[in-house]
Amino acid sequence: MDIFIQLIVNSLIAAALYAMIAVGFNMVYSVSKFFDLAYGTIAVLGAYFVFYFYNLFPDFSLVVITAGGIFFGGFFYFLIQKIFYQKFEERKSSNVVMLVVSLGIMTITQALVAIFFTSQFQTIYLNFESNFKILGAVITPIQVILIFSSIFVFFLIFLFYKFTSIGKKAKALADDPFMSEIVGINTKRIRAIIFFIAGAVVAFAGILSFMDVGIEPTSGFTFLLNSVAAFIIGGPGNFLGSLVGAVIIGFVENFGVFFISGQWKEALTFIVLILFLIFRPDGIFKSKKQNK
């Protein structure tokens, strides 16, 4: 029974992480309409920012360093969009070209991280008093922070789209880029802001994952795969869908690993993804645009 509850808790922890990453991916995809392979790398950069500065200034506030890492992730992603993606969009480059560009950025960034920090797996020691126990299941303080952070981020993003002018413009841009320009929305500015926010969100997720289990230069690709899977399963363009998709992946991974084998972890994600692509290609929640 304890094992079963532990599996549920572990699934929810994984879901919280994937949901955070997937919601950022959803934000970016909705305004750029291409699969940005460099997205997961931003999580790695955020994590290594914290790793570097926490080792350099061990007595400095971890909260401040984390905030720095979040900002760094957002700003770095903003720069990638401004320097690379925007230029290719202005040239009306196809999605395949954009995909290749993002692959290049991912590869270079990953290589630079490995050069500066080596390819070794890095962890951080956090001096938390003790773990929590819920119905016999163990959960660490950082995992609790991860779950609450994910809920908080989702809530903030909901408020952003519902009540802010930029959020509404981003929603319009996601709906119809051509019309957005026609009505006078500065689409370049909105895209840049969305990339900054999504970069900050994924960097935060990367930092929390680093604090929980550690990080290596290639972790970004795993983050990307899981977020893409959650994004497709939930339904592109639907934030609630990303959350549900993340929960499905979290549960499939953890239960699959327990009942089958650890080696099947990523394969199981993709089996679920392929099943969705065959039987429900628009995802669980079809967007209103798709319905039309």
């Binding site: 319009a172 051509f178 019309m179 026609i182 009505v183 006078g184 929305i185 209103k288 645009k289």
Partner: protein, 242 residues
């Protein structure tokens, strides 16, 4: 044929543009006079829609120039909207996942003053009362005619000096076409908005316009009042030849 040189909001001078790599407009000199309703007609592929798109900066200019109030201007759409020029493209272009009111709100991104937005919204709802009744409805659920009127309403929310309408009645039933044209005339009379309409429905268009530009194969072949255009016999020549 009448050609007034003053009060022109937009003027193209010897304009040539490319669209999808092909020369779509050649040496077009047209102008839109304040507070009037202007029609642009021609066969399919004659460059009517391209002319509107080029005014909004969507097609690269090869030769010539476009002037706003006699001066060259920044062709970026958001700058044009800020200077009170609205464009309603063809095909009932709405934000289909957003509500009716959100659609109208998106048309008002250049309005910074909330009071001004509310006043304009009240006026738009006066012209299109059904939109107020359905303000919370997802716009994809409206009928084709209602979606077209929503697109026009969204263009009107900034109280434009110039409203560019590209085929506003395409695909609509005759009754709704009449209704749309009635609204267009009402907008012109009440708000003194200059309206440029690209339209294939000549009979109804001629009833509300004072000036017509006739295009063929990217060239401006004639201009004048609807009567002058009709009497010249050029319509038969162009439309029968195509």
């Amino acid at each position: 044929m009448e050609k007034k040189l003053k009060n022109k909001i937009i003027e193209t001078k010897n304009l040539s543009v490319n669209y999808a790599g092909v020369k779509a407009l050649s040496d077009v000199s047209a102008y839109f006079k304040e507070e009037s309703i202007i029609g642009i007609i021609g066969t399919n592929g004659s460059g009517k829609s391209t002319l509107l798109k080029s005014i909004f900066g969507f097609t690269p200019i090869v030769e010539g120039e476009i002037l706003k109030d006699g001066k060259k201007y920044d062709l970026s759409p958001h700058k044009l909207v800020e200077s009170k020029i609205s464009f309603v493209p063809q095909g009932r272009q709405i934000f289909s996942s957003m509500s009716v009111e959100e659609n109208i709100e998106m048309g008002a991104v250049s309005i910074k003053n909330k009071k001004e937005y509310q006043e304009n919204l009240t006026e738009v709802y006066k012209i299109f009362p059904f939109l107020e009744k359905n303000k919370d409805k997802i716009s994809a659920e409206l009928s084709g005619g209602q979606q077209q009127q929503l697109a026009i309403a969204r263009g009107l929310i900034i109280k434009p000096r110039l409203l560019l309408l590209d085929e506003p009645t395409i695909g609509l039933s005759p009754d709704i076409v009449k209704d749309v044209f009635k609204k267009i005339k009402e907008i012109n009379q009440k708000q003194k908005t200059t309206i440029v309409i690209v339209e294939h429905n000549l009979k109804t268009l001629f009833e509300i316009t004072k000036h017509i530009f006739l295009m063929d194969k990217g060239i401006l072949v004639a201009e004048g009042s609807p009567k002058e255009i009709k009497d010249s016999g050029i319509l038969d020549k162009i439309f029968l030849a195509n």
